[in-house]
Amino acid sequence: MASPPPPLSQSSVPFYRDVRVLRVLVQIAFVALVLLVGWFLWNNVVRGMARIGGAFSFAFLENAASFALSETSLPYDPATDSYLYAFFIGVLNTLRVVIVGIILATLLGLVAGIARLSSNWLIAKIAQVYVEIFRNTPLLIQLFFWYFVGILKLPRVRDSIEIPGGIYLSNRGLAVPWFTPNETFTAWLVIAGAGILAAFGVYKLLGRVEKPFIYEWRGGWAFLVWLAIALAAAVALQPFTPSVPEIRGFNFGGGVTLSPEYAALLLGLVVYTGAFIAEIVRAGIQAVPRGMVEAARALGLSYIQTLRLVVIPLALRVIIPPLTNQYLNLSKNSSLAIAVGYADLFYVSNTIFNQTGQTLQVILMIMVAYLIISLIISTAMNGLNARFKLVER
């Protein structure tokens, strides 16, 4: 009786030619190399920091910051508040410019992207020139330009340019009317919140009505319901007092003044990112096959319906992933605030490590802060992407 061939594992392959062993060995060697290099660098850093004076610790964060910040969205007192709190104010300032910047850049990009596809030759050309100029020059130069040539060259406060509606433009920034909340403000917020729920109910209810005029515009109707509730509550409760900017001496009183630094950074980021978004929007719309639009029209969908039900969902599928990248770029580019002196996360951190010398710790904090911001943006956009993704079998 012939014996069965020996199982593979018992074959006489020496271990140094056994692929399974080799795989493990290669990986162990790689880890060892990384650890060795890491240990070498770490050792140098520790020795270098000992030379400068100071060990690796985050204790310094509790010391009083003792430097002033030009812009604070929360009360801040350099004499008593800690470095950590100053860092937090910087994070808030970054968020302030990133959130507003993303919204405005999207609007600008949308308009410019559609304009590039306009059948009007002049409009399309203007949009193209805008995109080419701002995409092909560095953001830093654009920021310098907006800040030093644009905003700081505006007239002084006393001769500021007045735009109807109580808006003033001067080299101290942009002053706009604002509201100061009264005691009834919380009550109004509660009612307005309840209004959102009511509007949502109306939206669902109208979804069952088969009259096209009501069904098509149910979002608009729901919004009107909310607006009516919010306005009625505002008239009844008087939750805010309007405050209009006025010139007082060398500065503005009342209203809200956007600092020149904030205005320049925001303008630079919006115009720069808008040019990139315009190209993305154009590519997205062009990616919708003509046949789709024609088929939708042939089925009897109106122009608005074709846009809403066919073109926009298909285009969004192409647009959202690169758009996410642009949002991430915008949030990271906001660190150029340091070039115009806006007190953002990076600017504040820079001051902290100049004062304390704790470079490594501060750089780690900056990286973590930006990573978290990036993570939030990409999570939100991935959620949006999942909604519009092609549903495959």
Partner: protein, 395 residues
């Protein structure tokens, strides 16, 4: 007979309102009432911008540029050593001229652009010595074209290009008999271009390596590459540059120093490599499995499959994205101005702060923005041409 049909005559010419200038205007500018309104508004905007530019050009004082042109081009590079930069440009012009004659295509556009820039600069009111040098470089361009045209030495040209970078680098930095000019003394456009070229040349291989590592079947190596790529892509470039300026000396053993420009180059390389890796990964994923299976069936081993079969196809597909990344690297070199290097952007601020040129910021910024624009636009134009030549997306 009256009922007999007339012989068919020539078709009538289209109405005069449908062809020519009027037809074009009607079709492209005034097709509907709202288009007409848009056109009028747009015309007003264009008028406002053009008149603004006209005002700027007529009132501008370009002395700040002409007086500082050396500063803009080479920064604090020693004046008596400027001939080395000029020689480098002449070598480059010669090679571009030869490439035009031999390769045509993109090289032709590059040569025409370079020639136009050199000739324009020779006409502008710069110092006499510089104008002569611009003309000499133009002559080298023409000489290169002539040599290339008559010899058609393709192989020599490839070697010449490969050798030119180290030769120019050595010439500028100085080795042996030529006095050394440390990179701390490089500035202006010279520094900007050096940073961009070194950054591109170094980040490309590193990025390809990372992309291949990310596709690796070894979990440890894959994890390391993913960690590196995602970490770097999550932080702003300026933090990487700052980290390199401040931390690189700390990371190195005591007593070892690195020039500041080199630290910036390391920062750009580390940063751009992560983005290049993601682009290459996209290319790798687009290659069908059958390609590598066929290669293995033919007896190629892993590395050879990658090198001969996968990478050439993958890299060709990524040209547009890659060039886009390199353009953004080129623009981002301006960030070194923030960490204190004397690149074009920093020189601009320095020039505008000279007491005799105070208040001429606009001219300075327009000038350097134009320099950046020409380079960035030329790169994107070149990439579009290259794409067409290589037939990306058609095969």
């Amino acid at each position: 007979m009256a009922t007999q049909t007339q012989p068919r005559s020539e078709p009538l010419p289209p109405p005069v309102t449908e062809i020519g200038v009027i037809g074009w205007l009607r079709k492209n500018l005034f097709s509907t009432w709202y288009n007409a309104l848009l056109t009028l508004i747009a015309l007003y905007v264009v008028y406002a911008i053009v008149s603004g530019i006209w005002n700027l050009v007529t009132t501008a004082d370009w002395d700040v540029i002409t007086a500082n042109i050396r500063l803009f081009m080479v920064g604090p590079y020693p004046a008596d050593q400027t001939w080395r930069v000029q020689t480098s440009v002449a070598i480059f012009a010669f090679l571009v001229g030869a490439s035009w004659a031999i390769w045509q295509g993109v090289a032709r556009s590059a040569a025409i652009l370079l020639g136009a820039v050199l000739l324009t600069s020779a006409v502008l009111p710069f110092a006499a010595g510089e104008r002569v040098w611009f003309l000499a470089s133009f002559a080298m361009l023409a000489a290169g074209f002539a040599v290339g045209h008559f010899t058609q030495a393709r192989r020599v040209l490839v070697w010449a290009w490969l050798l030119s970078l180290p030769v120019i680098g050595i010439l500028l930095y100085g080795v042996g008999g030529i006095p050394r000019v440390q990179t701390d003394q490089w500035g202006g456009l010279l520094l900007t271009l050096t940073l961009a070229i070194v950054g591109i040349a170094a980040s490309f291989p590193l990025g390809v390596l990372l992309a291949v590592g990310r596709q690796s079947t070894y979990p440890v190596i894959r994890g390391f590459c993913i960690g590196y790529i995602e970490l770097i892509r999550g932080v702003p470039l300026i933090t990487v540059l700052f980290m390199m300026q401040i931390m690189l000396p700390l990371f190195l053993p005591e007593g070892m120093t690195v020039e500041r420009a080199v630290r910036a180059m390391v920062g750009f390389t580390i940063f751009t490599a992560a983005y290049v890796a993601e682009i290459v990964r996209g290319g790798l994923q687009a290659i069908p499995r059958g390609q590598s299976e066929a290669a293995r069936a033919l007896g190629l081993n892993g590395p050879l499959t990658l090198l001969l079969i996968i990478l050439p196809q993958a890299l060709r597909a990524t040209i547009p994205a890659m060039v886009g990344q390199f353009i953004s690297l080129f623009k981002d070199t301006s960030l070194v101005a923030i960490v204190g290097l004397l690149d074009l952007a920093r020189i601009a601020n320095a020039a505008a702060n000279q007491p005799e040129f105070l208040g001429h910021l606009t001219e300075v910024y327009v000038f350097i923005a134009a320099i950046y624009f020409v380079f960035a636009y030329a790169m994107s134009y070149g990439s579009r041409r290259l794409e067409k030549t290589l037939g990306v997306g058609e095969r």
